[in-house]
């Protein structure tokens, strides 16, 4: 399986930024759980990173649910322009057969390498569950240090969302002879893309 090679888009750490050590902690934990992690500066960099990534991994189709980050980075258009066949509606039909699902998730928990999915939207959920690769976009500024803080944040919403998912790496099982095997019911690859630029549009 191809791993990340597009180093030029990966953010170079800058000591003054607040979430720096949080990001590093997060990355360590997520990679330990067989997840992949990358950090870019601008929303526009998401496409610049994903296009060669998809090409390298021979991913030609993807499903996408629009969100502040995808809009700010014109992700849908740019992936289409790059020749990726993109689906955004009737995802119950499409999600099982696309090569990747792209969704924005709400928070990251540095302590565990976990991303928090507010999944009230059914399409967003399906894209995070059914395709073999889940690309999760998240704002670097939405990293919180601990599980306890994340629970507090969820609870501080007007109401607990109907579906909240913690995702930490790809789907896994050890049910046969306790051998760790990746990708049973959910995605076999999980890629977290952190975006430093703050995009608050439409929230």
């Amino acid at each position: 399986m191809l791993r990340l090679t597009c180093k030029e888009w990966v953010h170079v750490p800058n000591q003054e930024e607040r979430p720096e050590s949080l990001y590093e902690g997060f990355q360590k934990k997520l990679t330990a759980m067989a997840g992949e992690c990358v950090r870019v500066r601008k929303a526009a960099d998401i496409a610049a990173f994903l296009i060669p990534f998809f090409q390298e991994n021979k991913i030609r189709t993807a499903g996408l649910v629009e969100s502040p980050l995808t809009r700010a980075g014109r992700l849908l258009e740019r992936l289409r322009e790059a020749g990726i066949e993109m689906t955004t509606d009737n995802l119950r039909q499409a999600a099982p057969s696309v090569g990747a699902g792209i969704t924005q998730l709400k928070w990251g928990i540095a302590e565990l390498g976990t991303l928090v999915q507010i999944g009230t939207d059914v399409d967003q959920r399906l894209l995070a569950m059914l395709p073999p690769l889940h690309v999760a976009l998240v704002q670097t500024s939405e990293l919180v240090p601990t599980l306890a803080e994340a629970l507090k944040l969820i609870h501080s919403l007007p109401q607990i969302p109907g579906f909240v998912g913690f995702i930490t790496g790809p789907s896994r099982t050890a049910d046969i002879e306790r051998v760790l095997t990746i990708g049973v019911h959910g995605p076999g690859r999980f890629l977290a893309v952190f975006v430093d630029e703050d995009v608050r549009e439409g929230e």
């Binding site: 934990k29 330990a32 759980m33 009737n90 119950r92 099982p96 565990l112 390498g113 976990t114 999944g119 009230t120 939207d121 059914v122 959920r125 399906l126 569950m129 059914l130 599980l147 306890a148 629970l151 507090k152 969820i154 609870h155 109401q159 607990i160 969302p161 109907g162 579906f163 909240v164 998912g165 913690f166 995702i167 930490t168 790496g169 790809p170 789907s171 896994r172 099982t173 050890a174 049910d175 046969i176 002879e177 306790r178 051998v179 095997t181 990708g183 049973v184 019911h185 959910g186 995605p187």
Partner: protein
């Protein structure tokens, strides 16, 4: 007492090399991996939180259930309270019929297995599909889980491949990645077709009406997202008061269950969410929550079993259980396996089904040490054992033996006679290597010690106690093994205490501490022993009572007050004895320990922790300190030094076939250290381990710490 059929199942499990291999490898991996994954976390604080959160919910159960129901209903869920399993089955079947459900996907729910929900639904003509990989494999080959978290732990990839081949009508190779892929595609189509999803939950948050599910495979997420009807089947013990309370459970459940910091997924469902309907429209699904009792309240109402509501079903009590590690889950006979399973079976299935498996517990306490809910499972199992014994009586031979032990004069004179009668068996050696006929199991993997020619009680009179500057008096409680088999240990204790300025007295009237009766569930004889020893030891007239056997010390300290609670004639005396009773190494440490000293001759020593000393009294640093301060001794740690040696009192007689492989592993760990001597603080462990070493002709000696101190420091 375990019956013949049960013993047959144990033999079968022990003969299953696949099972033994899988369980053994897991056991070895688990303990260290769990420790690593808790690095940087204070497990004691976390488990305190879990115990607090869960016990609060349990003691306010009606309030919690009402609050949960209100919150969940306000969000659009339908809540049904099922008093029994039949109620739950009926509700779910009728719901499925009403909505013309044809196919159902299930994510893992032990509660549904408890009530045979699949059978109930299949009887109505519905296709029910387990989707947890392990559960699916078992469903296909009609087996029950052998572990609560890893249900198919007992199967090899070859067996799984055969099951798939049979089911799918095409050859499946025993390649794990390929098998998982096959399961993914087979079950994927089931997910997409299903009209109904059924899930279990790990937590039900009363405050918000939220259900939380912890999984790795992602099947619970799909179950909660694809079908148009979703049913949660939740035991009432799953209640958690506040949303944030989930934190401590999320921190401990994956760590204790599979040594993961967190599972791949945690799914939180609060009220119905939109789904795709068969016609392609997006609408809110139907969400039903069945809150099931089925014997749980009865368990809570029973004072001795209240704490079962603090269980978070991590199954770590199975993972560290020496008996489970050998025999696996199927011998337990029902859905719930291992230590906690035995207790759950008694209340949630039928009490009689727990009668055989409760015997498997060695009382080593390893599970209680790591339980995130602070359940004392061994104590609860002992309570079950006592109740069975009270209800049905012990078998004649056991009862007869315990009656003799409780009669000091008879017991002691029999031991003296035995010392002479054993001569043909010992063949002039200090051990018995072979016993004839049905007793041969006892000497299969270990030799038994011969009874000493002169018991300690007779030797004691001739020990000169030259104590200058007497600081106080200590009553020595010898216990059967020191008194009649290893009197040398007693001599060591006296020498060391004299050295510390204490005179030692020995009460002739003392006898067996009653532990055998306690562990076999014979309360009347245990009480008899308690009174006899309290009377003999007269703790009121000495500064301390010391014993060199942690099992005896535990009896004096903890069992006697419990046995005699509420008895005005004895309660106070038991309390005084409990306060003054200490194990040898602990007392020595309390008296300031030993100065540097010793003969300086090199001796490589490894230390074996006795279960009762480490886990009932928290003493494990003290004996190591005494040994390390003795010139010449080099202390080396063995792997798994605090794992049970397999003696466990009468256990080695009840289940020699389980006790023997536990001992074998201990012997291997000892041999790997290259030590000359194994130091122990328990004469029971001493007997077991030296018996095992003798059978493999090992030159390694086993000695009690007191004995070693006497040899290395005695003038």
């Amino acid at each position: 007492m375990a019956d013949k059929e049960f013993k047959g199942k144990i033999e079968q499990a022990l003969d299953n090399s696949t099972l033994r291999g899988a369980l053994g490898r897991f056991g070895e991996f688990y303990e260290k991996a769990r420790e690593q994954v808790y690095e940087g976390y204070d497990f004691q604080t976390l488990r305190d939180q879990v115990a607090e959160v869960k016990s609060y919910a349990a003691s306010h159960l009606d309030e919690m259930l009402d609050q949960f129901e209100r919150a969940a209903t306000a969000r659009g869920a339908k809540v049904f309270r099922a008093e029994t399993g039949e109620d739950a089955n009926r509700y779910i079947s009728e719901l499925a019929l009403k909505h013309k459900v044809k196919s159902i996907v299930k994510s893992k729910s032990m509660a549904s297995e408890e009530i045979h929900l699949n059978d109930a639904l299949a009887a109505k003509g519905m296709d029910v599909q387990e989707t947890d990989l392990g559960e699916w494999i078992l469903q296909l080959c009609h087996q029950t889980p052998s572990h609560m978290v890893m249900p198919a732990l007992h199967m090899t990839k070859e067996q799984v491949a055969d099951v798939f081949t049979d089911h799918l009508g095409r050859i499946n190779d025993p390649d794990i990645a390929a098998l998982v892929k096959t399961a993914r595609s087979e079950l994927r189509s089931k997910f997409l077709e299903a009209d109904m999803g059924i899930s279990g939950a790990n937590m039900a948050i009363a405050e918000t009406g939220t259900l939380m599910v912890v999984t790795n495979e992602g099947n619970a997420r799909l179950t909660a997202t694809l079908p148009r009807i979703h049913v949660f089947l939740v035991g009432v013990e799953k209640m958690v008061p506040k949303f944030e309370d989930a934190g401590c459970i999320l921190q401990t459940l994956p760590r204790n269950a599979t040594a993961q910091a967190i599972t791949s997924y945690v799914t939180m469902v609060t009220g119905p969410t939109p789904v795709y309907m068969p016609d392609g429209t997006i609408q809110d699904k139907e969400l039903h929550i069945v809150l099931m009792d089925n014997g749980r309240r009865k368990m809570y109402a029973d004072d001795k079993f209240k704490k079962t509501f603090q269980c978070i079903r991590c199954a770590s009590c199975l993972n560290v259980c020496p008996a489970y590690q050998l025999v696996g889950g199927h011998v337990y006979g029902h859905i719930y396996t291992g230590g906690i399973g035995t207790i759950l079976t008694a209340f949630l299935n039928e009490e009689k089904f727990a009668e055989n498996p409760q015997n498997l517990c060695l009382q080593c306490g390893k599970c209680a040490e790591i339980c995130p809910g602070r359940l004392d499972i061994p104590e609860m199992i002992l309570e079950l054992r006592t109740r069975f014994a009270e209800k049905k009586g012990l078998p004649f031979t056991q009862k007869f033996a315990l009656d003799i032990v409780a009669n000091r004069r008879l017991f002691h004179s029999l031991l003296r006679v035995a010392s002479l009668a054993q001569k043909p068996l010992t063949k002039g050696q200090p051990v018995i290597r072979h016993l004839p006929m049905f007793l041969s199991g006892l000497t299969e993997k270990r030799s038994l010690p011969a009874i000493a020619p002169v018991p300690f009680r007779d030797i004691f009179k001739d020990i000169p106690q030259n104590v200058k500057d007497v600081k106080g008096t200590v009553a020595f409680y010898a216990g059967c093994l020191v008194d009649f088999v290893y009197p040398k240990i007693g001599e060591g204790v006296i020498a060391v205490l004299n050295d510390k300025g204490y005179k030692v007295v020995f009460a002739e009237g003392q006898s067996c501490c009653g532990a055998p009766a306690v562990y076999m569930g014979d309360k009347p004889n245990a009480k008899k022993s308690a009174m006899l020893n309290i009377e003999a030891l007269k703790a009121e007239s000495v500064d301390y009572v010391v014993s060199a056997c942690p099992t005896c010390t535990h009896a004096l300290k903890d069992s006697y007050p419990a046995l005699l609670a509420g008895d005005p004639a004895w309660e106070e005396r038991a309390a005084v004895l409990s306060r003054k009773a200490l194990d040898f190494s602990k007392l020595l440490a309390n008296l300031g320990g030993l100065p540097e000293g010793g003969d300086g001759r090199p001796l490589k020593v490894t230390y074996h922790d006795s279960c009762h000393l480490k886990r009932k009294m928290g003493v494990y640093l003290e004996p190591r300190a005494h040994l390390s301060r003795t010139a010449g001794i080099e202390l080396v740690e063995m792997n798994e030094s605090d794992h049970c040696c397999g003696f466990a009192g009468s256990y080695s007689i009840k289940f020699p076939q389980i006790s023997a492989p536990i001992l074998e592993k201990k012997i291997k760990n000892i041999e790997a250290t290259g030590a000359d001597v194994v130091a122990v603080d328990c004469p029971g462990c001493l007997m077991q381990i030296s018996g095992g070493l003798d059978q493999v002709n090992s030159p390694i000696k086993v000695k009690h710490t007191a004995e070693i101190l006497l040899e290395k420091r005695g003038d």
